[in-house]
């Protein structure tokens, strides 16, 4: 989230699209109801299903899953055509005026530079024209036909209301009504918030779905302001933190990146991470990259990371592929190229697509290690559960070690919420049986591995032997010790250059802010964006002062928010060019002539003069990007692509199947249904229900009471056509598998008409499996296709094809 849950109360219009906040985030959704009740805010829901969010909406429109980009570009087209643009914001705070290289173009669904064999673009033309002064060329009059604004105007012109109707199936009048409601927020005194979640990410073009809405928000001037923003509603309690801490194949904590094998040495690595400002006087914050990186290396390897060894640069692994994400991991497993796999509080057999492939992959491991508080399907993938998990244990040679861990109620530490608040919690109960904390388990694995290397030697033991491990009890580092390490500390005294008798930083002290980090090895910080969370003043994450001066919803004294306790990102953009709030009734920060101050921590140097420095300091341009240069693999503008399994051909570019640059493994391609397949005629989508949390709460008796049994949802029309009774059994199958489910026949799903073709929708909740308190059932992932988003490999769970028929129930039911 750019903003916070509590900020949503400040909005005038909530658009829930690509998510279902009432269902998945009820307590956060409270703030929508507050905005409605107290500000007269309106709620729009756009979804293939009439959801629980829709139940309390002011306006609902249906949309075919996987067509959101067409809808959103249609909204942009509407705003441009009807001059519903917050012009001051767009001109000053976006790259609308930046001139793009001549080579760049878009035609027939493809941008310049496409290589069909590699399924990738040469993105060199997707960039600004750089002037002789070394800065990007800008035409503030927006007259240059090659400026971003004019390219955008042209790019979205095809997405007329009629085209949106053809692609999305959304009735034209409903689409226009929504455009009208959204366009009102182009006024500086009206804001709209976008609340989305996996309904947008779980597509082969998920990242572009989000970009499209971010562009809408920029055009309306809604980023950085109270009640605005792009609000990703994260799914898990600490998935934000896990991502912040870089627990991904290609990340280093704080969104630094793991080197690729093209970056043979540290200087090469740093050469592409200089982030020189693209405009005069602009602050480009990533210019501090080296400080963050060196401090990270010092946190990892302490004294062993020296200037002489480039702070142990070579101790980091180097990537040969863009990422070793979970889909690639299981593909490698399937190919027999992996031997040992750890699952920490994670149940991939339920969570990733194509269960059959996942089970085959796990069976090819030598050792599977499970760390979990609960039984999982993954831990028992080898166990026979009849139709729900037909396995032959004798044929599966994988050894499985299942380790019992503590749960939230029994451990201590911090979690990062969707609004980037790091909130500390305390242990309340004794763990059951022999359950131990994850840090105990990891510490022991590390210590034993280190001991083996110390005794036996082996492949490159240095990074293991030298890993900083100076905890009071090496077998179980405490949460406080680890938090202090993440925050960062001074390694060696730093003296004031003007007065060498004064210490600026004193060795051993906790750092107060990432501004103090240094690239000479004198500071260490595990995760620079968290710096400030545990300072000499104590544990900032444990703060519990819920006062809120000005009733803004920022709660600056409650816990700690990264970065630097900032609650609304890009908050400089809440003010006009002169530093005055766009909407005085919703002041967040303000330039008082000498400095920035207000209810939030300014997202800019406090003394940076309004007209000198652009607000988006994480971009070298200082402005936000309507045109995203080469940052995304599938285009600098979003473009409509159908899902890999689609009931209709791509109207805009009929030859293109799916996202042209999404990674598809060879074996999986054969397992996709063809476009408009008569064999699999129905558009399916999978989703959560409010009564359950993923695959956890089926272990919970109470939640299992509230939603006991696996079901699918279909329209009354389809039920009639297929002779399926409400509450009766049906069989649903895709090219990858087949499930039996109870059927809920509902008015909340209606067939859509897309380009003259009736498209029926089959809804498939995800929460059941063969373990737990709830009735045994199938995971939706028996059906889903094994393909991810082109940029970040999020599986395409939201749009695929199935067939359905009335069926008898399972024999054992």
């Amino acid at each position: 989230m750019t903003n916070a849950w509590t900020d949503i109360k400040n909005t005038d219009l909530v658009v829930i699209m690509g998510g279902n906040a009432a269902e998945a985030h009820p307590c956060g959704f409270k703030w929508v109801t507050e905005a409605k009740a107290n500000r007269g805010a309106k709620l729009i829901v756009v979804d293939p299903r009439y959801t629980r969010s829709a139940a309390v909406s002011d306006y609902y429109a249906p949309i075919r899953q996987g067509s959101d980009i067409a809808f959103l570009l249609g909204v942009i087209n509407y705003c441009i055509q009807n001059d519903k643009v917050q012009w001051d914001y767009v001109k000053a705070f976006t790259n609308a005026a930046y001139v793009v290289k001549d080579g760049f173009a878009y035609q027939d669904g493809l941008f310049t530079g496409y290589d069909e064999v590699k399924r990738d673009y040469n993105r060199s033309s997707w960039d600004y024209v750089i002037g002789e002064d070394g800065y990007a060329v800008v035409d503030e009059t927006l007259q240059n036909p090659r400026c971003v604004w004019n390219l955008l105007k042209q790019h979205v012109s095809v997405y007329t209301p009629e085209m949106v109707n053809r692609i999305c199936g959304t009735p034209k009048d409903k689409f226009l009504k929504i455009c009208e409601m959204i366009a009102e927020c182009s006024s500086p005194t009206r804001t709209m918030t976008s609340m989305y979640a996996l309904g947008w990410t779980q597509h082969s073009k998920g990242a572009q779905n989000i970009r499209a809405m971010a562009m809408v928000q920029l055009i309306l001037g809604n980023i950085g302001v109270r009640g605005g923003g792009m609000n990703a509603l994260r799914g898990h309690s600490n998935i934000q933190g896990l991502t912040d801490l870089g627990l991904m194949s290609n990340l280093i904590p704080g969104y630094l990146t793991i080197p690729t094998e093209k970056e043979a040495d540290f200087p090469t690595y740093m050469s592409t991470r200089g982030f020189k400002p693209l405009r005069p006087n602009q602050m480009s914050y990533w210019q501090n990259y080296r400080k963050f990186f060196v401090s990270f290396q010092k946190a990892m390897w302490g004294a062993a990371a020296t200037p002489a060894n480039d702070y142990a640069y070579q101790w980091l692994p180097k990537l040969d592929v863009p990422s070793y994400d979970v889909l690639r991991a299981f593909e490698l497993m399937h190919q027999g190229k992996m031997n040992v796999y750890f699952c920490q509080g994670f149940n991939p057999l339920q969570a990733f697509p194509n269960k059959a492939k996942l089970a085959e992959s796990l069976a090819r491991l030598k050792l599977l290690v499970i760390m979990d508080p609960l039984e999982t399907e993954t831990a028992r993938f080898w166990e026979n559960h009849g139709i729900y998990n037909a396995a032959d244990p004798a044929a599966i040679q994988t050894e499985v070690i299942q380790l019992p861990t503590t749960c939230f109620a029994e451990d201590e530490g911090s979690l990062v919420n969707s609004g980037r608040w790091l909130q500390w919690h305390w242990p309340a109960g004794s763990p059951p049986g022999e359950a131990r904390t994850d840090s105990f388990i990891l510490a022991n694995i590390h210590l034993r591995l280190k001991e083996l290397y110390r005794k036996e030697g082996g492949a490159f033991p240095d990074p293991i032997l030298n890993l900083t491990w100076n905890y009071a009890n090496p077998e179980e580092p405490t949460a406080d010790e680890l938090a202090k390490e993440m925050n960062g500390y001074v390694v060696s005294d730093v003296l004031d250059p003007n007065d060498p008798t004064k210490k600026v930083l004193e060795a051993g002290k906790q750092l107060a802010t990432f501004g103090a980090l240094r690239d000479d090895g004198s500071t260490a910080a595990g995760c620079w964006i968290f710096t400030g969370c545990y300072t000499e003043a104590g544990n900032m994450m444990a703060r519990r002062d819920n006062s809120d001066p000005g009733d803004t919803g920022t709660y600056l004294k409650w816990s700690f928010a990264w970065p630097a306790n900032r609650r609304i990102l890009y908050n400089r953009a809440s003010c006009d060019l002169d530093g005055k709030p766009w909407d005085p009734s919703r002041k967040l920060i303000e330039w008082d002539g000498t400095k920035w101050s207000g209810y939030d921590v300014p997202d800019i140097a406090p003394t940076a003069k309004p007209r000198d420095v652009g607000p988006f300091i994480m971009n070298p341009e200082g402005v936000s990007r309507l045109f995203t240069r080469g940052m995304m693999r599938d285009g600098p503008f979003p473009a409509h692509y159908e899902p890999f399994e689609s009931p209709v051909v791509n109207v805009i570019a009929p030859k293109i199947k799916g996202n042209p640059v999404a990674r598809v493994f060879k074996d999986d391609l054969a397992q996709f249904a063809e476009t408009a397949s008569p064999e699999f005629p129905y558009a399916a989508t999978s989703y959560r229900l409010t009564e359950h949390f993923h695959y956890w709460t089926k272990n919970n008796h109470v939640n299992s009471v509230l939603q006991p049994e696996f079901f699918v949802e279909i329209s009354e029309e389809l039920a009639k056509e297929k002779g399926i009774a409400n509450g009766g059994w049906s069989r649903v199958w895709s090219k990858r598998g087949s499930v039996l489910a109870k059927t809920v026949v509902t008015k909340r799903i209606r067939p859509l008409v897309c380009d003259g073709k009736t498209v029926h929708i089959v809804g498939i909740p995800i929460h059941w499996g063969f373990i737990g308190a709830a009735r045994k059932g199938f995971g939706a992932n028996v059906l889903t296709p094994y393909v991810g988003d082109a940029n970040i490999e999020t599986p395409e769970f939201k749009a695929f094809l199935v067939n359905i028929e009335a069926s008898a129930g399972p024999a054992s039911a």
Binding site: A37, S53, Y60, A725, V745
Partner: protein
């Protein structure tokens, strides 16, 4: 937002109401309390309800209930009906508004309404099994409950259920144990959107007005408060988008009142019946006094002997 009630105490004060605050006690008389408590109420704003069932979960957890894991029956309503272990239940209705042609998903939290004139209490034959406090809470006292199920027949809302385990009647207590220490009911505490709020009945009516104004501004011309006077008003009230048609909401009674059958049974039948039985006994006495015993005379015996003896076989 409606101000949250502070967290519950772990060193609670003595309960703030009790036996002395009873205004009604089933099958028995109570001395009216000298001072009445302010009436409390739970307000359920259907227009804010997202049907998440947090209230159901919170209710089960607070009251240590153990509901069975059922089946999917084609609806989101789970379990399919109130039970002795589910004091509250979200009932889902899909309704296409004929005026707008828009689908509306009407989700109502069902449960005890805590009527001012409780039919359950009226029907209850067991002294003290059902009590009503002057703050409006109608509570079941399980030690006194005999499990006859009369409360079920008395209730205009079809709420109480008899446990198969201990054979006593169960329903929402309005969390009397929580209210007694200054808390709101568990469902209200949990409700994510504050579709459920709790306070004095007057506060709740004011809050309802505030909500109804908002709904009217959004085109719900018939939005209104459900506080049915047929049962003297209730201490659980609804804000409905379509207050003119309560029965849209999974059969919420349009004009609930204690059934005339129950009124007759617990009213005239009781008195007339007792009178009739008393009369019958009295009539016997009177008759006996006046007519004296009807004895067989020696002549009768003689006649019989004559008859029997005269016909030897």
């Amino acid at each position: 937002m409606f101000p949250a009630i502070p967290n519950p105490p772990v060193t609670p004060p003595a309960p703030k109401f009790g036996e002395a605050d009873l205004v009604r006690r089933s099958a028995s008389e109570v001395t009216p309390p000298a001072t009445r408590l302010t009436e409390v109420a739970k307000l359920i704003d259907v227009s804010k309800c997202i049907g998440c069932k947090a209230c159901q979960a919170a209710c089960i957890e607070w009251n240590n209930l153990h509901e069975e894991i059922g089946y999917n029956t084609g609806f989101y309503t789970n379990p399919p009906d109130l039970t002795e272990n589910s004091f509250t239940l979200m009932r889902f209705t899909e309704w296409v508004n004929p005026e707008t042609d828009n689908l509306e998903w009407l989700i109502r939290k069902d449960g005890c309404m805590h009527c001012a004139d409780p039919g359950c209490l009226k029907a209850c034959p067991s002294p003290g099994a059902i009590v009503q406090y002057s703050n409006g809470i109608v509570d079941f006292v399980h030690e006194n409950c005999i499990g006859c199920g009369y409360c079920i027949k008395g209730c205009p809302f079809n709420i109480p259920r008899i446990s198969k385990v201990d054979h006593t009647a169960y329903k929402c207590t309005l969390c009397s144990d929580r209210v007694a220490v200054g808390q709101g009911p568990a469902c209200q505490k949990a409700c994510p959107t504050q579709a459920i709020v709790f306070g004095t009945k007057d506060e709740m009516k004011d809050w309802a007005d505030f909500r109804i104004k908002d709904l009217k501004s959004r085109g719900y011309d018939n939005a209104g408060l459900y506080d049915p006077q047929g049962v003297g008003g209730t201490h659980v009230m609804y804000v409905l988008q379509h207050a003119d048609k309560p029965s849209l909401y999974a059969g919420l009674p349009d004009n609930p009142r204690i059934s005339p059958l129950v009124e007759t049974w617990k009213g005239v039948t009781k008195y007339v019946g007792l009178a009739a039985m008393g009369f019958a006994v009295a009539a016997g006495f009177v008759h006996h006094l006046i007519a004296g015993p009807n004895r067989v005379s020696p002549e009768d015996e003689a006649e019989a002997e004559k008859l029997a003896g005269g016909k030897p076989t």
